[in-house]
Amino acid sequence: MTNAIITTTNLTKEYNGKRVVDNVTLQINQGEICGLVGKNGAGKTTLMRLLTGLITPTSGSFAICPNQARTDTKVAALIEAPSLYGGLSAMDNLRAQARLLGIADDRAYFDKTLQLVGLDTGNQKAATFSLGMKQRLAIAVALLGKPSLVLLDEPTNGLDPQGIMDLRQLFVQLNQQFGITFVISSHILSELGKFATSYCFVNNGRLIKQATAAEIESNCSKLVRVNLQDVPTAYSLLKGAGYTVEGRLGQIDVLDADAKVADVVGVLAQGGVDIVNVQTISQTLEDYYVALLKEDKKCQKC
């Protein structure tokens, strides 16, 4: 039995004839931290708005927790700007949200939630907060009801590096401790790469790839990079040994996925080539994403 928490089937949203979300079919499972990746205008925020019911699809369908009653599933979201009552303090924002969710007015619990996100603002009104503080409070409001599913649109917007790290640790902790599923859209791929367990890549409203972090890791290409001075000689030696190589000033890349450092060094040493440095380089998430976009562009032209 599938443990899907979100499923979409040909989900589409059009504005004035333009498809902002285009036939998206995906499944996100319980317990995942799913990174929603795409450039500006790719349709990530619109997709999140569809999933939260803020807007209705033009066609297609989606289901939150298809295998259990919707009322048993608590969903929280932070879409674009933080949704807060500016005239209330941080504590009162939580108290208002608690009333909405039918949670008891437990100040100690609210204090703990604010501490979790690193907020200590007393009676200061939310309207006077910085963007980073508003973001933290919005996350606290989202987490208040212990939701099963949390959708976050650029949650680290406006946060300093320490704040970004703290939030990352918080999401991982909540995911591991309480099994909360996160769907997080972010431009900072290097940050997402540190904790996401699966990814949905979106381009021009279409889902171009959905994969787990493990699948991407195994598909990310590796190469052996050798820094040296005599590039032409090294190039000939490695080509002669049957490797696929690319040479540029001061370095040679051996592109074969199964190339071993020891073997490459051995070939060059036998040929009398002096090596400055040798290392194995893996394709980053950014490289993988850029490669996906290129492939998608080629496919669109076909």
Partner: protein, 264 residues
């Protein structure tokens, strides 16, 4: 719906908007009383204060100044609904409400209940000042108890109904445009424009010899037919029906607009 109402009431207690507008209502009501009291000194002759403030000499059938759609209670209701209920639209907090598994119908009904509640609060505040001031000044002395009570209750009832219309209109504009500024401007301006237009229509129709009975159905212009000292029972009935239908119709339309609204 009770949870949404609970949240709205919590915010209401913390919000200054309601209290500031209530204070303004009381202040303007006191100003009304004060000015009318001074009128004989300024103009040499005065008017029946009870009749002017609560409407009409014949209390059995009274059309109250409170029921005029340009009354300041109705105006404050517009400000309150636009600014308080409108916060959920302008601050984006409506998302939190929608995500808490509440249907759009439940949310809309909660907004409607709070808006109706504030109508009653504003009208009662205005009426309370009038009644207390008039009683203290002995102005009720020339009326029987039945006349006084009938006048007061019909005045409040019509005032509340008139405010319902404004509240429903404001909520409709708010859910339709999601902009607080428009939710203030459109109902107020629209009411003034419509009142002027319909009053002109009535005047022209009267000159043309059209039956008064038919003209008494035209909204926003009905108070033109009030005849102090006469039996205005039929007119009152028409006012109740027209305003009641307007408020109910706008309330229902507002829900359908809200149900279909694409929200940010």
């Amino acid at each position: 719906m009770s949870k949404v109402l609970n949240t709205l009431l919590f915010r209401l207690k913390k919000s200054k908007i309601l209290w500031v507008l209530l204070a303004l209502t009381v202040a303007m009501a006191l100003l009304d009383v004060g000015l009318l009291k001074l009128l004989p000194l300024i103009a040499g002759s005065g008017s029946d204060m009870v009749a002017t403030l609560l409407g009409g000499d014949a209390f059995a059938t009274t059309f109250s100044t409170l029921a005029r759609t340009d009354s300041y209670s109705a105006m404050f209701v517009v400000f309150f609904v636009a600014l308080f209920v409108g916060t959920d639209f302008s601050e984006g907090t409506l998302r939190n409400v929608l995500l808490s598994n509440k249907s759009r119908l439940q949310i809309y009904l909660a907004y409607l209940i709070v808006s109706v509640g504030c109508c009653i609060a504003f009208v009662f505040a205005q009426a309370a000042v009038y009644v207390v001031a008039l009683a203290l000044m002995g102005e009720f002395a020339k009326y029987t108890l039945v006349q006084a009570l009938t006048g007061i209750f019909s005045s409040i009832g019509l005032g509340v109904l008139s405010c319902f219309v404004m509240a429903a209109t404001t909520l409709l504009v708010l859910v339709g445009t999601k902009k607080r500024v428009l939710a203030v401007i459109l109902p107020l301006a629209g009411t003034m424009v419509l009142a002027t237009v319909f009053e002109v229509v009535v005047l022209v129709a009267q000159v043309q010899g059209m039956a008064v009975g038919a003209l008494q159905w035209i909204p926003f212009a009905q108070q033109m037919f009030f005849n102090a000292g006469a039996n205005n029972g039929a007119l009152l009935g028409k006012i109740l029906l027209v305003n009641g239908l307007l408020a109910a119709g706008e309330g229902v339309l507002g829900y359908f607009v809200f149900a279909k609204a694409q929200l940010k």
